[in-house]
Symmetry: C2
DNA sequence: CCATCTTTGTGCACGCGTTCACAAAGACAT
DNA sequence: ATGTCTTTGTGAACGCGTGCACAAAGATGG
C-alpha cells in the first residue's frame, strides 16, 4: 500500500468505518471479476479469499451496508456490485483534473482505470507554456492560468496533483479556492488544506523506505540466526553490520552518503 | 495515502509499531529540509507541524527509537537524520528492479526520489521483446527471461511490479522464487506471497474511489442541508439523488453504466 | 548555587478495528 | 412438514494507536 490520509474525513460517514470504506473498492474489484465470469453468487469465504481479507471482516464490512446476503447461500454478485458501486458513489460521473503533466502525470492520464468506474479526465493542466495544446492521452494540455475556469466550468471536485514538491502547496491552494474538495497528492509534500477538504497521498519514496525497514530487519534476524549457528548458509547481505548492539556509538555527522536532492517527484512541468 | 499492507510484516519489528515506521519517512523528509537550511535543533512542536502530525505522537514515535532529545531544547537535526536513516536501513544500498516498463514503469524509472536515499535502480525488465535494449531513463530494458539471473546476480531483495493486473501474480512468483522478499505492487491485483515476504500496494483506482465516497457524502449532506433550508445557495451537484432513504428499491440489474473493463493498469508491456 | 522556564518522555484512558465464536436464518432433502 | 446443513450477521473480547496531561530533566539567568 501507499500512504495514509491527512485531516480525517470530517465525521464518521454514515456510520461506515473508514477502514471499511477503504476495503470496499477491493471487494468491488473481486466482485466485478466474478461478474464477468457470470458467477451468480459467492460466499463470504470465497470472496474474502479473492480480496485477500478475513471472512469475518468482510461480513462485518457488508453488515454496515445492510443485510445483503442470504444465509446458507451467500451473496448475489450482481446485486452486491450495484450496492457497493452506489455506496462508493460510482454510479455518477466524476470529472477529474490532473495538474502537472510530467512523466507521472502523463502516465496517470494514460491510466485505463481512470476512465472506467465513473472517473473522467476533464482536463490536464501544466505550468509549462510549451506544453500548452500538446495532446497527452488524447487530451490537450492546458496552461495553469486556466485552472480556475476549468474547475468551475466543469464542476470538478476531485483534483490530482502530480507536480514537483515545490509547486504542490500552491497548486493545492488554487484548486481548493476554485472549489475542489478532494485531492489525490503524488507530490512528496504535506499539504495543508482547510476543514472539509479530503487529501489522500501516494508516496513512492515512503513506501520504499517502509519496505527497506522491514528488509533490514529481516537481514538482521538472518544475521543473528547465522551468528547463533556459526557457519550457516548465508545468501547475500552486503554489509548489514547488524551485529552492533542496541545503542552503540553514533556519529554526529550523518547524511553524507545519500544524494543531495530533496525528494524530487517524477515530473517536470517547467 | 495509497493502500495497505498484505500479510502483516511478520513479528512486531524490534518493538517499533508499524504505524510509527510508516511515519519515520515523513519525519526524515522534514528533517532533511531543515538540515539543508542549516537549522541546528528543532522542537517536537515545530517538527510535528512540518510533518503534519500531532506533537505528542511524534515524541512517542521517537521514544521508540531511544531518547534522542534534550529537554528544554529539542532535537538535534543532524543527529536525528542519522538515527532515522539508520533505523530505516537507508545507510546501505538497496538495488531495486522494476518489472513492467509501460507508461507507469517508465515514469517510476525516471523518478528522482528513487536514486536518492539509498535506492538504486539495478534493472528494468519487460516482457516485450521489442523493448529489450531500449534505454529508459538511461538504463537498457532487459527481457523477462533474464529476471532470475538479474535478481541473483545483483542481490536484489526489493522488486517493483508495474505490469498489467494479469501478469502481476506470475511476475511476483518469479521474483519471490528468485529471492526477492519485498514487493511494491502497482498492479491492481491482490498478490499472494509466502510468509516472510512483504507486499505494499499502490492503487490509484482505490484511492479515487475512497475520495469519491467522501465526496458523495459531502454532496449528500449539502443536499440535506439545502433541503432543510429550501432555496439555499447550491453550487454544483449534478444529480446526487441522495434523498433516497436508507434501503429503498434496489435494481437487481446493475453495472450497466460503468466501463466494461476490469481495472486495466497504466502499463503496456506487450 | 538556586530559581525559573522550556521541552521532553511517558503513564493513562479512550476509541477504533480486528477476530473469535455462535446463534439465527434460510436452503434443501426427505 | 420436519430435520439437517450451510452460511450469514453480530455480540463480546482483545489489542493497537492516539491524545491528554503531567512529572522529570535540563538549560538559562541571576
Amino acid at each position: 500500500m501507499a500512504t495514509g490520509r491527512t485531516h480525517r474525513p470530517a465525521t464518521r460517514s454514515r456510520g461506515i468505518p473508514e477502514a471499511t470504506v477503504a476495503r470496499l473498492p477491493l471487494y468491488l474489484r473481486a466482485l466485478t471479476a466474478l461478474s464477468e465470469r457470470s458467477v451468480p453468487t459467492v460466499s463470504s469465504e470465497e470472496l474474502a479469499a479473492a480480496a485477500g481479507v478475513n471472512s469475518a471482516k468482510l461480513r462485518k464490512d457488508f453488515s454496515y451496508l445492510g443485510s445483503y446476503g442470504t444465509r446458507g447461500v451467500g451473496y448475489d454478485v450482481e446485486y452486491l456490485v450495484y450496492q457497493i458501486s452506489r455506496e462508493l458513489g460510482l454510479t455518477q460521473d466524476w470529472p477529474v483534473v490532473i495538474v502537472g503533466i510530467g512523466n507521472l502525470g502523463a502516465a496517470l492520464a494514460n491510466y485505463g482505470g481512470f476512465a472506467s468506474r465513473g472517473f473522467r479526465v476533464a482536463a490536464l493542466i501544466d505550468a509549462d507554456p510549451a506544453m500548452a495544446g500538446k495532446p497527452v492521452a488524447g487530451i490537450p494540455v492546458q496552461h495553469t492560468d486556466e485552472l480556475e475556469s476549468i474547475i468551475t466550468g466543469n464542476g470538478v471536485s476531485i483534483g490530482v496533483i502530480a507536480t514537483p514538491a515545490g509547486a504542490a502547496q500552491q497548486v493545492c491552494d488554487r484548486l481548493v479556492a476554485a472549489g475542489v474538495t478532494s485531492i489525490l497528492n503524488f507530490a512528496p509534500t504535506v499539504l495543508n488544506v482547510p476543514d472539509g477538504v479530503d487529501v489522500r497521498k501516494v508516496d513512492l519514496s515512503i513506501e520504499l523506505q517502509i519496505l527497506a525497514f522491514h528488509e533490514q530487519r529481516k537481514a538482521g534476524e538472518e544475521a543473528a540466526a547465522a551468528a547463533a549457528v556459526p557457519a550457516a548458509a548465508r545468501k547475500r547481505a552486503a554489509a548489514p553490520a547488524a551485529g552492533a548492539s542496541g545503542s552503540g556509538s553514533a556519529p554526529a555527522s550523518a547524511s553524507a552518503d545519500q544524494g543531495p536532492d530533496g525528494d524530487v517527484p517524477a515530473v517536470m512541468p517547467a
